[in-house]
Subunit: 222 residues, 2 copies
DNA sequence: CCAGGTTTTCGCCTATCGGTCGAAAACGTG
DNA sequence: CACGTTTTCGACCGATAGGCGAAAACCTGG
């Protein structure tokens, strides 16, 4: 029962880790988590565990990632871990305990147990779902410019995406709408950028945008 | 630790269930599974469990589905279940124990516990992955005609797909290749159908076919 | 206040993809 | 050998994605 909480910060995708104080694997970095209570399911439990690190309301998305169960994944008696993927929108800077910090997922410090593999899985899952679902909303602030959204996607995917194309794809899927507002340009000038938001009601993960659709039923969204 | 093993049989997507002999939920149908051994991970464990029902070599694909952990999902002390999706190619008719039978997933009998919800999740996962991955290979025999493949996809997805389009989409993804052979037409005549196979090396689940690709890297497959 | 630099926005072009249809191919039967 | 049947394949069309460059809208420096 542990979670890879991801957020785009300072232009790179980062994961929240805490530094172990005790053996085994003292001073190595590990994912937050904890045991399952008797009266909660795993989703409720991981949200409770994470509440010690970040405010639960700051998590824009939580989903099961996978079960990690290699008998040798931790020393001593076997521990089966149900891993979660958590996401925090980029405009939030959660207050975290002093032993906890954010690390870029592609420059991880020495990690404990199999937590590096779990981080990789989380990164991979996020990249996939950004492409074929509307999960992007979970990384973005309530309002954003297209170029801000572009840098979020680029950081999470690991490669540059075209701002033009990103806007068009998301718009065509009916996910994006303009707020009407704009932001002032920076000190170097430039046209003011228009603000957008994700359409409310599309702020949960929807079905993938499938190929091989049913015949001639021209329904795109729900 | 339990599995929804799916197969297309007699034109419909079916799931392997066994009838409980004892309380609780006697005479209701439930998914096969069992406990986790000390020296195995969950994948190995579920394959071992399933070996009692079907030969493991007949399973063309096994993947984690989700963890089901509602405290009330079974009577008595809470049991956390790691659910799997298993697939059997359509040309195989496994020998199953006498208490075990196949049931269409959209006409399930009275099921035990939350197993109906697990079946629905398995069905949904399969439908999604058929669309955006190459998972189709796991439902198909080693060689097949396009119309046979079409009926497999139709049964698994729950709606008709176009044979023309199915062949083109899979071919363009580089998944399908002709064997050169043909099958004799049925008693009512017709042109002999060409046989195809999934390209070897593409018989594992690949990355989803993503949108928002990296810029101007004209690489489709791997 | 105007020229030049910067950033965003938008329209257009092209390639590809998915959906559909219908003709042609290749077989059986009467 | 005409006809029905089934498969195959080419052609068309709309939708989608990627790319490019012009235009818009702002800044600063002269």
């Amino acid at each position: 029962m542990l979670a890879a909480v991801l957020q785009v910060r300072a232009g790179s995708l980062q994961v929240m880790l805490w530094e172990r104080a005790r053996e085994p694997h003292a001073h190595r970095w590990s994912l937050p988590g904890g045991g399952l209570g008797d009266d909660e399911d795993v989703e409720a439990s991981i949200r409770r565990q994470l509440a010690e690190k970040v405010d639960v309301r700051q998590l824009s998305h939580v989903e099961q990632l996978a079960v990690f169960s290699n008998p040798a994944r931790v020393p001593g008696p076997r521990v089966v871990a149900t891993a979660f993927l958590g996401l925090v929108p980029s405009h939030i800077d959660p207050v975290v305990p002093s032993d906890t910090a954010w690390h870029p997922v592609d420059a991880l410090p020495a990690t404990a147990f199999d937590h590096e593999a779990i981080c990789r899985r989380a990164r991979s899952r996020l990249a996939s779902k950004l492409s074929y679902t509307n999960l992007g909303f979970a990384l973005a602030p309530p309002e954003f410019t297209i170029s801000a959204l572009r840098s979020l996607y680029s950081a999470a995917l690991g490669y540059k995406v075209s701002a033009t194309n990103l806007q068009r794809v998301l718009s065509r899927r009916g996910l994006l709408e303009p707020t009407g507002g704009t932001v002032q340009p920076g000190p170097s000038g430039g046209r003011p950028a228009a603000l957008f938001r994700f359409v409310s009601g599309k702020m949960r993960v929807t079905d993938p945008f499938a190929v091989l659709r049913p015949p001639s039923t021209r329904s795109l969204g729900s």
